[in-house]
Symmetry: C2
Subunit: 192 residues, 2 copies
């Protein structure tokens, strides 16, 4: 039995290695550089090994996305719980979100820009994604205002953050004013 367990453990280790390496490579050189050949070379196995863990490249991206979602949830909760009062909480949340997107562009891409084959806003949505949304909801629900469904409000606020994150990173919005954009967003959207 212990032999089988060891093998399972090693397999799980290798799977984590694949995901971590894909993420690292993507952050270093962009997702375009994450080819199955390069990835296989970095983990010091041949290409087909990747396909014994994942159905294909898409699933590897999906795995990075899930990892990222879990981290983002942690970051969002840490930021909002460290702030006092609704306004400070929402501001901290928004900053933390944009900060995460800026610091982990490849992971953010895996989550929202690329096709990781993940389901969203459905029952079979993976837990980490639901939880990341829940982390947003926890702080945003309290500033939705009367008569506005917290989930709907969270969706709109999230969309705004997502728009700011992607447009800024794509060079569509000049970066220096990010702080003022966040302030404006919080001031107007949130009912304090």
């Amino acid at each position: 039995m212990s032999v089988q367990e060891r093998k399972q453990r090693e397999r799980a280790d290798r799977e984590r290695l694949i995901v971590a390496t894909a993420r690292e490579l993507a952050e270093q050189q962009g997702w375009d550089a994450v080819t199955t050949r390069r990835l296989a070379e970095r983990i010091e196995y041949s290409q087909p090994v990747l396909y014994s863990h994942f159905r294909g490249k898409r699933e590897i991206i999906g795995a990075v996305a899930l990892e990222g979602a879990a981290e983002m949830a942690v970051a969002l909760r840490a930021a909002s719980s460290a702030a006092d009062g609704p306004r400070a909480r929402v501001t901290a949340l928004a900053r933390a979100y944009l900060d995460f997107a800026e610091r982990n562009p490849a992971v953010y891409d895996a989550m929202f820009q690329l096709d990781g084959g993940l389901a969203f806003a459905r029952e079979d949505t993976p837990e980490p994604l639901k939880d990341a949304f829940a982390a947003l909801l926890e702080s945003l629900g309290e500033v939705a205002g009367d008569g506005v469904h917290p989930a709907l409000f969270t969706e709109v606020f999230w969309a705004a953050l997502h728009g700011l994150a992607t447009l800024t990173r794509a060079g569509r919005l000049p970066p220096p004013d990010t702080g003022r954009r966040v302030e404006l967003l919080v001031d107007r959207l949130a009912v304090l």
Copy 2:
């Protein structure tokens, strides 16, 4: 002279044909299906002909994006000019934006999601892109509120719309509530 002119005209025609075909193919089967081979086959020329018009696939995407930006500017101005009063104007504008993104997903991708090699928010930004932003600014500037720079407000509003458009289309947000999201966005962000 007239011979040269005819040739130039034919060349320009063919260039338009390339862009239109790329766009059509992308709307029909997605950008992944737009390969240089398929595109060449559809226009009934060989691959290298594409490269006598464009530096590469990226530039073709860029051309589709510019065409789309021009159309979007027209659509936005039409929608907002048909509405009376600031509130109705902004609502119409937002709806028109999301409508354009929904009806022309491939074009929208070319503009904001894919790399078309276009410069944004800079001096050498192509005119159609500047103009599309200007179309937003025209209607949004008047509801920015006191002390808020119209361009900054437009950026934030645009980002929110962009977020809604992309997240909805990627299946991240359930579509039925789009109308309510737009209402919420206009009610809160715009100073009426």
